[in-house]
């Protein structure tokens, strides 16, 4: 849109998408850049589908229009597909290789797409697929999966990895700094080079 780099972070309420968006926001401040963001609060967080919009160098409204996002970071495969229309043609996806089926599948007997079908559909875009849960657990805590995701996405973001890491260290609880630093680096390794 107007020179901003637009990132959409999506997942399921309670997965730590808000902390991830705060890390990006603080990174912008560290680099002296403007930023706008919007997110889901309130009851919608109770296990529902949640989204955080972050517009790096954004000066105007906080929301990203469908078809305009540069990067989609998704904590769940199904949510990646649900929000994939937000991406521009050359937009990229970083997705956690995990599929949490919504309760509606069981109570309303719906047929969900399979993991393979979702991945095939997401491949319309440049895709970075990683097992963030496993990596986070290896780093020391499954709760660090949001930081693993940011590590993997770092290669596609217009923010210096050192800045992101500094923001991670500022924002995570003190006693988890070491684990999250490790999670970020392991995420970077899993994401590979741009």
């Amino acid at each position: 849109m107007s020179g901003s780099f637009d990132i959409l972070i999506v997942g399921i309420g309670g997965q730590g998408t808000i902390l991830a968006s705060n890390i990006l926001g603080d990174s912008c401040l560290i680099e002296g850049r403007q930023v706008r963001g919007a997110e889901t609060h309130g009851m919608a967080q109770r296990g529902g589908s949640v989204e955080s919009h972050i517009r790096i160098d954004g000066k105007f409204g906080p929301q990203i229009a469908p078809g305009q996002a540069d990067l989609l970071i998704s904590f769940d495969l199904l949510e990646a597909l649900r929000y994939s229309h937000y991406l521009k043609k050359d937009g990229k996806i970083v997705v956690n290789r995990r599929l949490v089926l919504p309760t509606s599948v069981y109570t309303q007997k719906l047929t969900p797409p399979t993991e393979e079908e979702i991945i095939a559909a997401l491949k319309a875009h440049e895709l970075c697929l990683l097992d963030a849960d496993r990596i986070a657990t290896e780093a020391g805590s499954p709760l660090s999966q949001n930081v693993v995701m940011l590590g993997a996405a770092a290669k596609w973001m217009p923010l210096k990895p050192a800045t992101l890491l500094e923001a991670v260290r500022r924002l995570v609880p003190k006693k988890t700094i070491e684990i999250n630093t490790k999670a970020f680096t392991m995420g970077q390794d899993a994401g590979g080079k741009a």
Binding site: D26, A38, R82, Q108
Partner: protein, 589 residues
């Protein structure tokens, strides 16, 4: 000057610290709640703070504080202002001495609300000023100005951020927090504070006399501003102004409205310089109506000629569409992007281990053909379980229930209401139902917290907003004091007990109250409560699906068998549902 990446509500809270606020109160409601939550989390608060039992109570407290000369902030969501409308309308007459800022957060698109009403209409109705921020930074900057304006004109000031201000984030320049120099004192003046007819007629005239100077001052403050750049113009208010600015062509004039009432002379001068004007604002055509009053024969586009919608929220893409329709070419156009269709929905759902799910199950089991009036809280999600038939506004489950019970002969009615909502405006309905002899059952879903809006304490919690211990209200004694003789307090996880007591209630006439008690599962987790998880014995499971229909997110179904995932918090209700006893404590197969 410090810069921080903050949530709109956090920036608003910080601006109150910068304004030396003395008195803070409100009732939680999305999207307003984080302002008081941020202020109550401040260490060494140099001001008074409370969560009040409802918005009317909050506003009357804040008004009295402002009468005593101190600065008061009162927060609520837009529909809360309906509850507070009675003191609001007359507070404009009595006026204030200390600054009174009433934050009423609007929710275009009703993300978390029962309607899309517009707080600006209340400001118009009451003839008091209203601020309408376009960004997080402006929301922050308006707060000190609102306190000063309130003191200058002796009027309460409405502050109306929307969801996309309250729950959006941005880099915000903050000022230093200041200590308040004010000490409260009430100076008796019956002509000001006792609104008998003889006094109120005079006060109404004084209120009307304040209006012209008020309009002028809002232009001087810079929240209403304009720039002439061409032969056509766009006038936008609130966050819609930010959307417009992103795509505004260089040759189109722009007026930004951030405060009401709008100075009509100033507006007329601007409109008169153009051949066509487009007004873009969310919800009511508040700006547009004023523009139309001054436009004469200059064409005005907006809601009233069908260019813009009356409902829902706007966005940059929506604004681009409105501009195009009105013949203004935006800098960018947004091609519609198609969503992937037929994906299973993931709406919010009652948590695994939520007390409400078990209570709803028991109600439906005992009262199969009842009408189920419900109320506002997490338990409105009982709609998904088929146990919520009505929700209109806070506290209306019991009143709607008694209305149905009186109107329909031999109709079972079972109301559900949370503890905070019961104390907000439910108790009056209970008193009324008993007084007028209704036949109905009321289930108070008592999790001892205001959960949906972010776990604020209430009089039932035993803690104040500042974490000080306080006597907890006895719901049992309160219901009995209203005249209810059948009051039973139950463990909401005790499915058998719940079913038995509901059956007992069904046999009796009059108003029966069951208090289904259990901690909110999120509060319990935070408090470190650990219950063992449960698991399905795959050999015993017949795949009948009874537990799946319970709708708990911890229960999955694959390969013709139920399975319990790691979301299980050990409430054990499903153990009692399984007809073959296949659900057992983990590790004890």
């Amino acid at each position: 000057m410090e810069r921080k990446y903050l949530l709109g509500n956090e920036a608003i809270a910080h601006a109150c610290l910068e304004s030396g606020v003395d008195f803070v109160c409100g009732y939680p409601g999305t999207p307003s709640s984080e302002v008081v939550d941020t202020l109550r989390a401040q260490p060494d608060r140099p001001f008074y703070l409370e969560w009040s039992v409802n918005e009317k109570v909050a506003l009357e407290n804040a008004l009295a504080a402002a009468w005593c000369g101190v600065r008061a902030l009162c927060t609520m969501k837009h529909v809360g202002l309906n509850v507070a409308a009675d003191p609001l309308m007359t507070s404009a007459y009595t006026g204030v001495t200390g600054g009174l800022v009433i934050m009423s957060a609007d929710d275009p698109f009703a993300h978390s609300s029962q309607n899309e009403q517009d707080t600006r209409c209340y400001a118009h109705f009451a003839r008091i000023p209203c601020f309408d921020p376009a960004s997080v930074q402006e929301a922050h900057d308006m707060i000190p100005a609102a306190f000063k304006l309130s003191e200058e004109f002796g009027l309460p000031v409405l502050f109306r951020p929307t969801t996309r201000i309250c729950h959006s984030k941005g880099d915000v320049a903050l000022g230093p927090a200041v200590a308040s120099p004010r000490k409260g004192a009430f100076h008796k003046d019956p002509r000001q504070y006792v609104v008998i007819p003889a006094h109120t007629r005079v006060l109404h005239k004084k209120l009307n006399e304040k209006q012209p100077a008020l309009r002028k001052r809002l232009v001087e403050l810079g929240f209403n501003r304009c720039e002439v750049r061409g032969k056509t113009a766009i006038i936008a208010s609130g966050i819609a102004a930010s959307y417009v600015q992103e795509i505004l062509p260089d040759t189109v004039s722009f007026m930004k409205i951030g405060a009401y009432p709008i100075d009509e002379g100033w507006l007329k001068e601007f409109v008169g310089k153009h051949e066509k004007v487009l007004v873009i604002e969310e919800l009511a055509p508040e700006v547009e109506e004023t523009v139309r009053q001054v436009a004469g024969c200059i064409p005005v586009c907006g809601k009233k000629n069908g260019n813009a919608p009356y409902e829902g929220e706007l966005s940059t893409a929506a604004v681009a569409g409105i501009m195009e329709k009105a013949g203004f070419l935006p800098k960018s156009l947004f091609a519609p992007a198609a969503m992937v269709e037929n994906l299973p929905v993931r709406p919010p759902i009652l948590c695994a281990g939520c007390l409400h799910r078990g209570a709803f199950y028991a109600i439906k089991k005992v009262f199969k053909d009842a009408v189920y009036p419900s109320d506002i809280g997490c338990y409105t999600l009982g709609l998904q379980l088929g146990v919520v038939d009505t929700t209109i506004c806070m506290g209306a489950s019991i009143t709607v229930g008694s209305g149905i019970a009186h109107a329909c002969e031999k109709q079972d009615v079972v109301c559900t209401i949370g503890d905070s909502t019961f104390l907000h405006t439910g108790v009056q309905g209970l008193m009324n139902a008993v007084y007028n002899g209704a036949n109905m059952t009321v289930v108070i879903l008592d999790n001892r917290i205001t959960a949906m809006t972010g776990h604020q304490p209430n009089p039932n919690t035993g803690l104040t907003a500042c974490g000080v211990e306080t006597p907890a209200v006895s719901l049992d004694a309160l219901c009995r004091a209203c005249g209810v003789t059948f009051v039973e307090t139950m463990d909401a996880f005790d499915l058998t007990g719940m079913v038995n007591v509901l059956q007992e209630a069904k046999k009796r006439s009059g108003v029966k109250v069951i208090i289904a008690k259990q901690m909110c599962v999120i509060s319990a987790r935070r408090a470190g409560v650990k219950r063992g998880r449960y698991t399905v014995d795959p050999e015993a499971c017949t795949g009948c699906g009874t537990c799946v229909r319970f709708g708990c997110p911890a229960i999955e179904f694959a390969d013709e068998k139920a399975r319990i995932n790691e979301l299980c918090s050990g409430c054990s209700v499903c153990v009692h549902l399984c007809p073959v006893g296949a659900i057992v404590r983990e590790g004890k197969r």
